[in-house]
Symmetry: C2
DNA sequence: CAAATAGTGTCTATAAGACAATATCTC
DNA sequence: GAGATATTGTCTTATAGACACTATTTG
């Protein structure tokens, strides 16, 4: 899961360690006098965006169940943001890597292990957290809803699946000297039963000649703790763009699925309808047909497929 | 440059701050007793990959100057890795954001400001740094070589431009229970005059059904400090993939350039030759022709173009 | 049979790859 | 004219979009 170990067993590294610095110390002497408490340090947390696709209840027996994207949120039992909802996450311990901390959070909230996980972004504004300086690395995990543990998480403590919706509120182009600024406001909405959370994020891209960089900021947040709205918005963007050029979507599918269900997942994430023939053509090399079919569907049954991993090709 | 501010001026946030927690405290009371030194904290650094394209000297007056990708490295004057070369970088201060720290490093090493910068990845293995626990966020910046400051950096203190080469050493597929593991070893080589640094990185992708995640590790490092080899390899991968679907390459170009020079840059980054007609067709909507031409070239002069920013379309 | 989804065929438009051919400069 | 790069034209191939049409199940 992206853990980056380091092997420093190079022959000439030992040589570098024997060299003397400007105080005449070799590396060992330097490390012995190194004062860890010399500088004030920030806290570091790992926060987890856990996405899954869940079915909505459906009254018409003929229609396919509508699916939607869900995100795991945890209600805060402590200050700050007491009672508000936050992404599962916590401080990185000194004896665990960043990835291990993220995996730990994932496991403790959902019971899941070994599912798809990737690092998203590290948020480092000075006053992100009222307690103290906190730098947070956001991760994204994708779970397939049929996993046993997923359902279990639902009635555990304060973790809940929220139905996730988003839309672009406005796009604005501001001309500045030597270029322009593009602002896009994006609204995120989270719903679990009668709990409704929302927030707005502004992404500003500054162009001077070429793109210089982008800046994210929280415009408003209702019930979503810290700057987690922008982590969610950022994660959604990553998911949307990666579903177009990777096989990431199959991590949201059970082992056997219909092509219609797969198309639904693409449509939900991309937020637009796709044409079935083109979709099937594009997916053909990525799936393997089985001899099984859905049944009792109220309409023509559908063939079940499984994923053909890239490495099997 | 990706700074993520937070505005918590929501009406119901004030309400949350007045709520009492399990000890009967409101937020203010909680914050007053919050002990910052309760937990041991890691250090955080921001490290900068600064890429540029530089010309090689050329003896044949008729041929175009060969270009190549260069990366800024700094020689370490302190333990650990004394005398080895590292990416420009340093500890994040308590009163600056992560992005500000990265921009500060960029400026102090090259004198550059306001150029393209993006966050790459955060490296969080436990023993990355022999001094203490250090978590490092890597950034990538792109500079166009004609900038005045770039040349200046070259004779400043211990910062140098290294010509950057890379190649895939081997790709291996290992079958494991329930899936497979794909290992790819990549070699990075840095050359400045008679200084030659190199290192090898292994990227392991584990598949169990679908892709679970990828793991990076340093196999060897000769003259490159810490785990900076893998930061470089990661940055190269990001640059290579983003040049295909964004306009990122124009950040490496001067304001006026020929299509051949632009093509050279694409070829260097992608590590393969491109067909000129297809390349020109694809670039046509992204550039604007000027009335200027190159001259004294020893061959047919070439028309100069400038970038047409996305937002102008 | 109606309702609903599953799945196929095909025409068109657009983009990418390959390569030949022509243009224009300097020494 | 030779050598080098610049630039255009065109044929082929692959892919994506649009839409009509056929197939199969259940109440």
């Amino acid at each position: 899961m992206g853990e980056k170990d380091h092997d420093s067993s190079s022959s000439s590294f030992k040589e570098a360690a024997q060299r003397l610095d400007h105080r005449g110390w070799n590396e060992q002497q330097y490390l012995e006098q190194y004062d860890v408490s010399e500088f004030e340090r920030p806290s570091v947390t790992a926060d987890m965006l856990i996405f899954t696709i869940l079915d909505e209840q459906q009254d018409n027996y003929r229609k396919l169940p509508e699916k939607s994207l869900h995100l795991m949120m945890v209600q805060r039992g402590e200050h700050p943001y007491l009672g508000w909802w936050a992404l599962p996450g916590g401080f990185v311990a000194m004896n665990e890597s960043l990835d291990e901390a993220a995996a730990r959070e994932l496991h403790s909230e959902t019971g899941l292990d070994g599912i798809y996980m990737e690092q998203l972004y590290t948020w480092g504004a000075v006053d992100r957290d009222p307690r103290t300086r906190v730098i947070s690395t956001a991760y994204m995990a994708l779970a397939d809803s049929t996993r046993q543990q997923i359902q279990a998480g639902d009635d555990a403590q304060d973790a809940r699946w929220f139905k996730l919706g988003y839309r672009v509120l406005q796009e604005k182009k501001v001309h500045i000297e030597g270029g322009c600024r593009l602002e896009r406001d994006m609204q995120v909405e989270l719903v679990h039963q009668d709990i409704r959370l929302s927030g707005t994020v502004r992404v500003t891209r500054t162009y001077r000649g070429t793109l210089n960089g982008e800046q994210w900021q929280v415009l408003s947040s209702d019930g979503i703790a810290f700057d987690h709205v922008q982590m969610i918005a950022y994660g959604l963007e990553r998911l949307r763009s990666k579903i177009e050029y990777t096989d990431i979507a199959f991590n949201l599918m059970p082992p056997l699925f219909t092509l219609s269900a797969l198309q639904q997942v693409y449509e939900i994430v991309l937020g637009k309808e796709l044409l079935a023939p083109a979709f099937r053509r594009k997916m053909a090399p990525r799936v393997i047909a089985t001899n099984e079919y859905t049944k009792d569907a109220g309409h023509r049954p559908s063939q079940l497929y499984r994923y053909r991993p890239e490495w099997e090709v």
